[in-house]
Symmetry: C2
Subunit: 410 residues, 2 copies
Amino acid sequence: MSKISPLAPERFPVMPPLAGVRLSTAAAGIRYKGRTDVLLVELGPGTTVAGVLTKSKTASAPVGWCRTALQGGVARALVVNSGNANAFTGRRGEDAVSQTAAAAVALMNCPATSIFTASTGVIGQPLPVEILTGALAKLKKNLDASAWEAAAGAIMTTDTFPKGATRTAALDGATVTINGIAKGSGMIAPDMATMLSFVFTDAAIPAKVLQELLRPAADQSFNAITIDSDTSTSDTLLLFATGQGPAHDPVTDAADPRLDGFRAELTDLLMDLAHQVVRDGEGATKFVTVTVTGAENARAAKVIALSIANSPLVKTAIAGEDANWGRIVMAVGKAGEAADRDRLAIVIGGTLIAERGEAVEGYDETPVAAHMKGENIVIEVDVGVGNGQFTVWTCDLTHGYIDINADYRS
Amino acid sequence: MSKISPLAPERFPVMPPLAGVRLSTAAAGIRYKGRTDVLLVELGPGTTVAGVLTKSKTASAPVGWCRTALQGGVARALVVNSGNANAFTGRRGEDAVSQTAAAAVALMNCPATSIFTASTGVIGQPLPVEILTGALAKLKKNLDASAWEAAAGAIMTTDTFPKGATRTAALDGATVTINGIAKGSGMIAPDMATMLSFVFTDAAIPAKVLQELLRPAADQSFNAITIDSDTSTSDTLLLFATGQGPAHDPVTDAADPRLDGFRAELTDLLMDLAHQVVRDGEGATKFVTVTVTGAENARAAKVIALSIANSPLVKTAIAGEDANWGRIVMAVGKAGEAADRDRLAIVIGGTLIAERGEAVEGYDETPVAAHMKGENIVIEVDVGVGNGQFTVWTCDLTHGYIDINADYRS
């Protein structure tokens, strides 16, 4: 295993049990030896579910399964394995998901459409499904309401640390809890979700409302990060609501102002998890925030921000602690969105470097050079044509990325 | 200077003099010490010109100048410097180009619109224009019809070898010559041209016809390569026709069948130069050809091919000599163009690896592993939805790229 990312949080958060959720992990040996690689989550009866899935044209078999199951809006169990993505595995891949679901149905005594599955790891190799189904009975025996860190660990691939976050929100007078875990380190440029992230709440929220809360929150968080511009075949974000927490009156509309607190905390939690994914970017040594303002609209601002965040030349300059803002100019230019070269302004680490299309008079690189040596790099660009703005997060591109990916088969 | 790329051609081609073209280089010290960094090309009276320029929204001052000058369609001189791109230099940048042109006008005794300029190197730093203009008189004294290799050398930045190519074509019974030089090594994802390439012919072809010949040839060559997905602010491809070669009857229409041979040789020469740019890709150790077939149309095929060619995960796998075709599946999926996952076929080095959406029965990796150890990697993907096809060329992503770009300020 790789060394833990230098950008990792100091510790895994203390995550409280959440009524209606129990977790269990095991080392089944699907691909890795000597580490956990399967996760079963049991969800109480009546749990609702929402999800955001990859738009990849070569999405994995479990993604296809979840897309169908989400239409039912109810969940009773989640089965996840790491080490094998069960993607591009043809008919056999779909059979493997059906078999997994059937085994879970037998165990949980529920309809197949209440079973959710996700797989992450190598693409194109048949999933040894019997190992996964064979592990389920023992997993069920060991279900535990407090196994959050173990759960976050079992879904890792090249991740160097487990990712979790917890929040509480006031909802109609009750205090509800939201717990989430995520994995992801490379092949990260979510177009609509992340690699894998599973979020749970004890609030009682109908599936339709849950979906309306989840989509915009995902757009601001997981859909605003990139590690290497490569989008996974397996991106899956699921949000489960058990309804077993402190009682509150029903909510039936996502626009209900009683949901404002929940929406804010959910967004904050997803942002926390998304940032943790960036902090575990393959080979990352810097956490980079890119904000674009002055674009035609928010969509254009995002395109420009991602053009900067995905540029290998910008990312290698950051790795080299070089305030090479000329490469930022290049990345703005290639994005194809409206930008006024002669009104462009660039700020790094709070220092104005360029405005009105050229370096500021007497630009002193000293404070910027000091900023580049830090772990948190902040880039702000105003493209001078409108009011659109957007922020994305990324990491630098280092020798570590090459080490990991010229070797690991993902 | 870096070591010469392992993919470099054995030697610079023997390029014949070309009537109406004389070249001269010098070490002016614009940025680099102890190497040539300025180029003057004198073009005979009556020379026509066509060009393809970057679509970057932050294009350099010389690109803006050439865009205007191209409207006149006549050329008398070309002035190029390396080491400083004169991009994002505001009003001062435009003044620098005007001063350069004025100095050349005084020397060549021609209108300013017959002067073409190009600059390549670091972005955002004022061009020390007096060094450039101060070098012109001496450059003019040393003009030489055979200085092709020196010319190709003077325009290099991180390039490890000079790039040139020559062809002859039959045109209306006469044998005309085409000579071209190019530079480029990083920040290569031409959207419409290359970094810098200058092509010369002694044929007599009106500017309008020249332009119609150049655009499609550029689309098949320079616009079909990528090293790192980053598009330069300076991409400039100029084609000059002196009309001083063997006499031929006038041509006035690009569709004239007498131009078929010229068109084919021009395209072949541009392809040669474009491939040399890829072979000098920063840190490159493999030359990679990616052909996509079965797409909705050629445009869609190109998008998918570039998604594969630009994927950091595909490129690092190639660097690691790993036939990781799962990452090719990923890159097809993220491209967003129509692709039928369950009809997808992948061939590497002539070996069928996957078809109908999964690995072929009994797939033996041995021949593919042997192919991956070679210098020329050939990837063919059929996406199973139509008849569109396109080929692009790229290189691998190695530690060498990080070494060069975490350090060099471009």
